[in-house]
Amino acid sequence: MSVNSTLMAPARPRSSFRRAMIVTRREIRDTLRDWRIVTPIVTLVVALPLLLALVLTANSTFLIKQLTPETFYNKLLPFTMLAIGFLPMSFCLVIALETFVGEKERNSLEALLSAPLTDLELFMGKYISATLPTVFASATASVTFYVVMALSGLQIPISAGLALTFVGLNVLEALVMVAGAVLVSTHTTSVRAANIMASFIIIPMSLAVQAEAILLLNGLNNGMYFMLLGLIVILLMLLRSGVKIFNREEIVAREGDNVSLKGVLSGFGYFFKRTPREGLTHQKTGARWTPWRLYRHDIPQIIGLNKGASALLGICLLGAIVLGVWLSYWPEVQQVRQEYNLGQQISANQTNPTCVLNSDGTTLQAAGFGAVTWQRLFINNSFAVVFASLASVVTLGLAGIAMLMVSIGPIGFIIGLLLQADHNPLPLLAGFVLPHGIFELTAVIIGISGGIRMGNAIISPPRGLTIGQSVQFSIINFVKLMALVIPMLLIAAIIEANLTPTIGCAITGGKF
């Protein structure tokens, strides 16, 4: 018998929808037996639409006079219908927290974990059971409102497309909330703690509903499609992490909600002392931590772990250049170019202001970038990398990607302009970008990839690490990466301030 099971990748058993449905049925029955959930849902599904329909019908003349018929019929009534559909949805969060954390708190989960169910079946069963009753309640509430209004003689002028969008938005909001509840559930061991953490879901969702209200009341119905799209993206990300995080190991291993500063610090120490590979497999520390080990083992391993994020950044970098070139061909840009006679200036073999020609017109001197010193460049670039990385943590990596694209895009734009003026952009790139760019861009990609991994630490923790450990692991890895990134940025800044102008002017001959 082999004694090291960690070396064997566990086979992923096939999941069955039928078994997931067994869990769903039980959960739904249990939910429907809970008067604390059923009473408010019934109120929201039956009483509230009736009440609102009666109020709107009774006051329709007054409201039409105050708001104009257009606003009343095309904005207020559809929005009320959307809101009535959303209110029962908010209960999916209560059900989800009860279903996921409640079961853990009541100690009934372990029996279920001992049953022949895969993690995915359990996740799906519970996920569907948390969303199905509220989706049904939401649809019923909307239909009740629509029917009562119609019976009262006030037909809501809503197109099938908009009605479907409303349904889509409500369903997606429910799915997003439940997916968020799964994440919350994995971090808590009591319904009380989960309810406190649920504000992280409720606040963004209420903001989303407010945004829907603004769009609808301003007649920007197309904006709803972007909301749908945004919710789908968020849902996919949350589902991905939910499926990954919702596993027996994570559920059973977490037994307390206490925060211990000592524990947190010791966690950081644990990962700092180990190489990333040792940290991931919870191995004992091999070689003692030394600067040599950091550069020889730790950093190369981290770069290896972040290769996906680095590849993504590389693709985005190329994308930014292509985007810049594409932008330079926009008619608006062409217009400005013609207005300032930019093409003429470039094609007239104008001298690059960065370069100074000697009086004989042949020998070249670099004038440099004026007031831009290497110290300033270094501080600016280091700040940008750290800021982009930290912003990536809260934006799931989007901020880092956006900042990289914004800084690289202008290069593409210049390339585009040069191409339009029939100039070869390569000497300019080779002279003015490449010398420091080799270090700077590499450092930026390495640094921001660490930031993206930090943002990913919660959504997609590596196998064998809890969420907390995953966050600590990614932070320590980022700190270790900085030991490479900062010196590289320093080298890049020195080259950019002192060598790049000379090299650039020499290669381009001081001309565009």
Binding site: M1, S2, V3, N4, S5, T6, M8, P10, A11, P13, R19, I22, R26, R29, D30, R33, D34, R106, N107, S108, L109, E110, A111, L113, S114, A115, P116, L117, T118, R248, E249, V252, A253, S266, G267, Y270, H282, T466, Q469
Partner: protein
């Protein structure tokens, strides 16, 4: 009697064979949570029709061990197989052949017991008609049939424990992990559960019993393993453990005639060590009772001392347990004493060398 139908295509081997094929097998099982080592290198084997009792303080690692064996937690190191299925690579197969009575009954309070059993039975793919008859049989056996219409939230602690045990048995598993099966039960119910466990043992089930009830462990288990700080520190039958930890068995002889002192010839019997004596009785220890007890009786007879009774002095498993498991913080146990003695010996040797 609990039925012995074999389900899930698994056929436990005959327990009557002298060395039962291990159904539960773990080798060097270890579990770490970050820096904390919950279980260290646990190796065990349990054959069909055998019960292994896992004893240990709270937090010693019993529950983590059973969770790894039940394919709930993946071991950090080591391998475990249940009925030949690997707990890491074939978790579903493992969970199909095990019944797990968890530390907490963890019932669904708003459910009725029959619905509860239906739910778990359906997860185990038991046909509905079989499931109903089996549920009834088990509920009747454990005296819960009359309360089947109550919601389980209304059950007493003992009833909840019995309902959880029935849930663990509903699919007639070949392997059982029972964590405190009789906790919170009245003596009658506890006896009922112990009888059921004995029946299951006779029906060739392999079982691991985690308990703090040492009497229960001694009655039910074939072998006992004491786990301390995540490690199995000793394993064997109750008698072997007593022998190992408390020395050779003790016997007490009651005489029909008062005497001041034992005759020297009896005191001088080389296979016997007299431990104490009073006017009409004495206690002794012997490594080979089969050989020395008859000799002692003959010697006493020769001296005209009539023997009313000769009985083995019962020694509790508790003494063994306390000796090996010590206090929860690990102080005051025999292992520490051994370590202290070793340290003292080393230090004395060092001093002798220095002299």
């Amino acid at each position: 009697m609990i039925t012995t139908t074999i389900s899930n295509g698994f056929h436990p081997p005959d327990a009557s064979t002298s060395v039962p094929v291990p159904i539960i097998e773990a080798q060097d099982l270890a579990k770490e949570f970050g820096d904390f080592q919950a279980v260290k290198n646990v190796s065990l084997k349990v054959g069909a029709g055998q019960i292994l009792a896992l004893l240990g303080h709270n937090g010693a690692g019993k529950t983590t061990t059973t969770r790894m064996l039940a394919a709930i937690l993946a071991p950090t190191r080591g391998v475990a197989t249940i009925g030949g299925f690997d707990t890491v690579r074939q978790p579903l197969e493992v969970r199909r052949i095990i019944g797990h009575l968890t530390e907490q009954p963890g019932l669904y309070n708003r459910m009725r017991v029959l619905d509860y059993l239906d739910f778990f039975g359906e997860l185990q793919s038991i046909p509905k008609n079989i499931l109903r008859s089996r549920s009834e049989e088990l509920l009747r056996r454990f005296d819960l049939w009359d309360t089947r219409k109550l919601r389980m939230g209304e059950y007493s602690k003992g009833m909840r424990q019995k309902a959880a045990l029935i849930r663990a048995l509903i699919h007639e598993p070949q392997v059982l992990f029972l964590d405190e099966p009789t906790s919170a039960m009245d003596p009658y119910s506890a006896k009922m559960v112990r009888d059921a466990i004995s029946d299951l043992k006779r029906a060739n089930r392999a079982m691991i019993l985690c308990t703090h009830n040492l009497v229960e462990a001694e009655i039910l288990a074939d072998r006992i393993a004491i786990i301390r700080k995540g490690e199995i520190v000793i394993e064997g039958t109750a008698e072997e453990l007593k022998q190992k930890l408390l020395g050779a068995p003790h016997y007490r002889v009651e005489l029909n005639t008062p005497m001041r002192e034992l005759p020297p010839a009896i005191q001088g019997l080389e296979g016997i060590t007299v431990l104490n004596q009073d006017e009409q009785s004495f206690t002794y220890q012997t490594e080979q009772p089969d050989d020395w007890n008859p000799r002692l009786l003959r010697a006493l007879d020769n001296y005209g001392l009539g023997v009313i009774t000769l009985s083995q002095v019962s020694r509790s498993l508790e003494s063994v347990y306390l000796k090996i498991a010590g206090t929860p913080d690990g102080t005051g146990d025999s292992r520490d004493e051994v370590e202290q003695a070793q340290r003292k010996r080393k230090s004395t040797r060092r001093q002798e060398v220095l002299k």
